[in-house]
């Protein structure tokens, strides 16, 4: 198994952290992983992305131009990465703020209204976990249990009381994702 993912959006949406949890989830099921962020001015706002690779075998290049899955959280990233999804691959996006929707017919397009769902939960910070849930539903490459283990590893102890809320947000994302 090899899954090459790009997660892209604005700085502050939790893009890098979502990738980190996926990567830790991969380690929990004994896979090889790489997590390669865009870094620099993105930290202060603007677009931001991370590519995550999960594989049963040794990973060569951490730099990719074609992906099995693209998780897209703003228009700029959609414009940039829609064409980089492999034919037959998956594109998951949040329609919030999107004016030009995905157009490709040779890939599976899924929609997760994560901004709306986070508002319903009354917790804007749960946004990235809702998106993660949507991904796990469409592509169950990492088991829910291993993601939770990965989440626990990624969160400092002082934040462990937030585990329940995050688990809930992942479940919400799994239910709310629409396959178009």
């Amino acid at each position: 198994m090899k899954e090459e993912i790009i997660i892209a959006g604005f700085g502050g949406q939790g893009v890098l952290f979502m990738g980190r949890i996926l990567a830790y989830g991969g380690i929990m099921q004994d896979q090889e992983v790489t997590w390669m962020p865009s870094y620099g001015p993105e930290m202060r706002g603007g677009t931001c992305n991370v590519s995550v690779i999960l594989s049963d075998n040794k990973i060569s290049s951490p730099i990719l131009s074609r992906f099995d899955t693209a998780i897209i959280l703003n228009q700029q990233s959609l414009d940039k990465f829609e064409k980089q999804v492999k034919p037959g691959g998956v594109l998951i996006y949040d329609p919030n703020g999107i004016t030009r929707h995905p157009e490709r017919k040779d890939i599976k397009v899924c929609r997760i209204a994560a901004v709306d769902e986070a508002a319903k939960l009354g917790n804007a910070k749960a946004y990235n976990m809702i998106v993660l849930g949507a991904y796990l539903k469409v592509k169950p490459v990492v088991t829910f249990e291993n993601v939770i283990k990965g989440l626990r590893k990624s969160l400092p102890e002082r934040h462990h009381h937030l585990m329940e809320m995050n688990e809930k947000a992942i479940s919400v994302g799994m239910e709310a994702v629409e396959i178009l």
């Binding site: 980190r20 990567a23 790489t34 997590w35 870094y39 290049s61 730099i63």
Partner: protein, 360 residues
């Protein structure tokens, strides 16, 4: 099985330093390697192993603190990125001249000048051919994975003390910023004063016992004869290093007709290029120098005769390719492909460039 932890390359440098019994880190922040000192400050090793971590007022100050620590036989290190390393080069020349062991980590970014914070490999010349003044050499290790970043710290100190010479880990923004899983190694305690005296008493400034004359550490030798003798001694040492310490890896070179030579993160990207080529029936392989000085001359030399073409792939405008050309010495055509200023090519882009060179 040892625990495997997800961490950044820069964090791996910090954890490895604490783990292998490093005595002191002196540095000044610069992207893309600031997590080295950040991690050390968070871990507070001065409370556990007694390791000193100090943010100096500049890179010049950092390297001279390393100089001082190394004079006392301590395992000391610094880290920086390209512009900061330029500031340290005077100190590196002095460390090499005085034959002092130390570790300098360069997580390269695009230049020249202040440049960009994005990854680059444009300090190959600086790292392998000097940087500072004088006929000196630095042992240079080029990590390609986060595990390499972790493992090369201990290896660097081993080599630094074995040859009493500065060692550089020459990484780049990709291996520094990337996270991968790292298998932790058994911890080595810091050297005790007794161990230090046993190992370094012949040269380090440990305090003069009655039994021997004082150790003087200097790179100054005004007398031309003495200076030449010291230079000959250094060159003999470098010859020993060249004979014994060249390290490399190969990927699918056994049956290869074409060869890519690439170091650091580029060697991994080029492994994907090999897969693309082999899908098209082209037998391509990769030679990855692990030590850039000493260069794996014999390994490359032995591969040249079977190759119809060789391409050096680098994140610069063509630096290592000069060594590749020198070693190939006309026996196979040597091409170059590179991106500069922080741009990193994809495997497809490199493959396209490779195909163009073999169709010519």
């Amino acid at each position: 099985m040892a625990e495997k932890i997800l961490m950044k390359g820069n964090e791996a440098i910090a954890y490895a330093a604490i783990n292998c019994g490093c005595d002191g880190y002196f540095g000044y922040p610069i992207t893309p390697q600031s997590e080295v000192m950040e991690t050390l400050m968070l871990e507070k090793p001065w409370e556990t192993t007694g390791m000193v971590v100090l943010q100096a007022e500049s890179e010049i100050s950092s390297i001279n603190m390393v100089y001082g620590g190394a004079c006392c036989g301590k395992k000391v290190m610094t880290s920086s990125s390209s512009p900061g390393i330029s500031l340290m080069c005077e100190g590196l020349s002095y460390l090499a001249g005085c034959e002092l062991p130390c570790l300098v980590v360069n997580v390269m970014r695009g230049g020249p000048g202040l440049g960009t914070i994005q990854p680059s490999q444009s300090d190959y010349f600086q790292a392998t051919k000097g940087g500072g003044h004088g006929d000196y050499r630095t042992i240079v290790l080029a990590p390609a994975t986060v595990q390499d970043m972790y493992d090369y710290v201990d290896l660097s100190f081993e080599l630094a003390f074995k040859y009493r010479n500065p060692v550089m880990i020459l990484g780049d923004g990709v291996v520094g910023q990337m996270m991968e899983k790292v298998e932790l190694r058994p911890a080595k305690p810091r050297r005790t004063d007794e161990e230090l005296r046993e190992l370094c008493d012949s040269w380090a400034t440990l305090g003069k016992p009655a039994s021997r004359p004082g150790n003087i550490i200097t790179s100054l030798a005004l007398d031309a004869d003495i200076m030449e003798r010291h230079n000959i001694h250094l060159q003999n040492k470098y010859a020993t290093i060249e004979a014994n310490e060249a390290r490399y890896e190969t990927y699918m070179t056994k049956d290869a007709d074409h060869l890519i030579v690439a170091f650091g993160c580029m060697s991994r990207i080029c492994e994907n290029v090999v897969e693309l080529a082999r899908q098209d029936g082209i037998k391509l392989g990769v030679l990855r120098p692990i030590t850039l000085y000493p260069y794996p001359e014999k390994a490359l030399d032995a591969l040249v005769p079977q190759m119809k073409s060789i391409m050096s792939v680098e994140l610069n405008s063509g630096q290592m390719v000069e060594d590749v050309r020198r070693i190939a010495s006309g026996r196979a055509p040597v091409h170059f492909y590179g991106r500069q200023g922080g741009a990193v090519p994809s495997p497809e882009e490199i493959y396209e460039a490779f195909v163009k060179t073999i169709k010519k």
